[in-house]
Amino acid sequence: MAKLEIEGRVFDVDGDGFLSDPSEWNEEVAALIAKSDGIDQLNEKHWAILKIIRDNFEKEGNAPMIRKICQETGIKLREIYDLFPLGPARGACRVAGLPKPDGCV
């Protein structure tokens, strides 16, 4: 198991830096992971996206489709890619504390 250290806090993560234990996640952890991706301050739009991803994970056990994120937050698709430069999977899902999705992401 790999370790990820951000500002003195140490997390158990998989090789891609996704939290090994999603229950370790909270808003403070999200802000720290975001910082390590170069997002200094999570804004309202970031939080709206993270909330949907997190809710979906807790109910369905996986990441939501990007359609659901766009339609429930009202944020345009292209803007989501700007908000999370690493994309919805390596960017947003990681900040939301999910395990890494399978496939080419």
């Binding site: 090789g15 891609d16 690493l86 399978d102």
Partner: protein, 432 residues
């Protein structure tokens, strides 16, 4: 990894079938010249002997000699003949899954052309027979086996996404005929996607839909079996590869499609088009072609009109290994890109000699080796930076994801695009 007694019967059978002359000749052919070393991204990044491609192939060949040659049986130490045991198997996992993207660049640099990735793939078959496939890679294969797509997207969610993209396209084109037809029969094009498109990156779906609309193509996508990937090509389990290949094969028959058009996916194109008939042990009775070639034919036949000035940024091309070095699409990709952009700068090296993105061979799916993947990717990142391009075009979604991560990690400040996206941006639509 848990230490356990391993069953070596099945993996050894893979090496001693006696009906695979390609394997036997390639395993016996290496002359240890070492020319392959500098061709390999892993060796260039780490400079350790274990990463030399020939040394990785030697892991498999040394086991072959130990059990299949008199010299190896009688004097193993003298002939570098090795036993297959737990330690050896773990070394094989680390080197053949964790340190080879099967990009085939070493084959082009080998003084006698040994097909090293073929031997590596056999090594992976041996490991699959021992249930030693890395968990993250197997999980991607399992998702495809169980649900028909490697991200386990439920059918209704896929349909909702396609309908959403269709509505946006109809709005953009101001034409109700700008459709994304699902599950329609007797169409000339049966199109396929990488599941990451509907799940997270659907702009490439609307891009290709726009191209098909402009070309007045008769096309459809299956709402159940649309996945162009086949991770069975990577995990080394041929039964699983065959089951996955069977999904597309059966679905195109069900919908009576004429042409299986492979979406932008390097390994998926290869695993379906070249390996698929082998996995299924039958010749395909439908045409199989990549979407790059289909778009090229639209341009040649005047079915679409492109305006290069609409893409004026400097672009470069990343050649996916399975489409160019191992797929013959060098010229077709150049033709399509040169028809769509006004300023193309090639990388160095490029084409058949291009470096892998670093995420091939299933590496992108294997978190276990993430650090190595990013480190070898530095070579690709330098190539991109030196080209001076602002846009990197690549017809492979796996490459797109790796390049996106390299873009972020190495602060390249470029935009990564698929071929359909760059072509869609250059389209001049004649209202229908």
């Amino acid at each position: 990894m848990v230490t356990q007694k391993i069953d070596i019967k099945k993996p050894l059978e893979i090496l001693s079938r006696g009906d695979d002359s390609k394997l036997e000749t390639n395993m016996n052919a290496c002359v240890k010249c070492g020319l392959c070393a500098e061709s390999c991204m892993y060796y260039l990044a780490f400079k350790e002997a274990q990463y030399v491609p020939g040394a990785k192939a030697e892991l498999v060949s040394s086991i072959y000699r130990r059990y299949n040659t008199l010299a190896g049986k009688v004097a193993p130490a003298l002939f570098n003949a090795k036993e297959l045991n737990q330690e050896m198997a773990e070394k094989m996992v680390d080197m053949l899954f964790g340190a080879c993207t099967m990009c085939g660049r070493c084959v082009k640099h080998c003084s006698i052309g040994v097909d090293i990735p073929y031997i590596v793939r056999k090594g992976r078959e041996m490991l699959a027979a021992m249930n030693m496939v890395p968990a993250t890679l197997q999980s991607t294969v399992d998702a495809a086996l169980n649900t028909g797509n490697n991200m386990a997207i439920p059918q209704e969610e896929f349909i909702d996404t396609i309908k959403w993209m269709e509505e946006e396209l109809i709005d953009e084109m101001e034409d109700v005929n700008a459709r994304i037809p699902l599950d329609e029969t007797d169409k000339s094009v049966f199109y396929t996607l990488n599941p990451r498109e509907p799940k997270f990156f659907p702009l490439s779906i609307s891009a290709i839909a726009k191209v098909f609309y402009a070309a007045k193509e008769s096309w459809t996508i299956s709402s159940k079996y649309y996945d162009v990937t086949n991770y069975g090509f990577f995990n080394g389990n041929n039964d699983q590869a065959a089951q996955i290949a069977g999904y597309l094969h059966d679905e195109i028959h069900k919908l009576r499609g004429k042409k299986l058009v492979l979406g932008e996916c390097g390994h998926g194109s290869r695993a379906t088009r070249w390996e698929g008939p082998g996995y299924l042990k039958k010749k395909f009775d439908f045409e199989t072609i990549t979407v790059v070639e289909v778009i090229a034919s639209y341009i040649r036949e005047g079915k679409i009109t492109l305006d290069k000035s609409l893409n004026s940024s400097k672009v470069t091309i990343h050649d996916p290994c399975n489409l160019v070095r191992n797929g013959g699409l060098y010229s077709e990709i150049r033709f399509v890109v040169k028809s769509s952009v006004s300023d193309l700068q090639e990388m160095n090296p490029y084409g058949e000699d291009n470096f892998c993105c670093g995420g091939g061979g299933g590496a992108l799916a294997m978190s276990e080796y993430n650090e190595r993947r990013i480190k070898i990717g530095a070579i690709k990142a330098q190539q991109i930076a030196k080209s001076g391009a602002k846009v990197v075009i690549t017809p492979c979604h796996n490459c797109v994801d790796q390049l996106q991560q390299l873009n972020h990690t190495y602060k390249l400040g470029v935009k990564i695009m698929t071929i359909a996206e760059i072509v869609a941006d250059a389209l001049v639509i004649n209202k229908q």
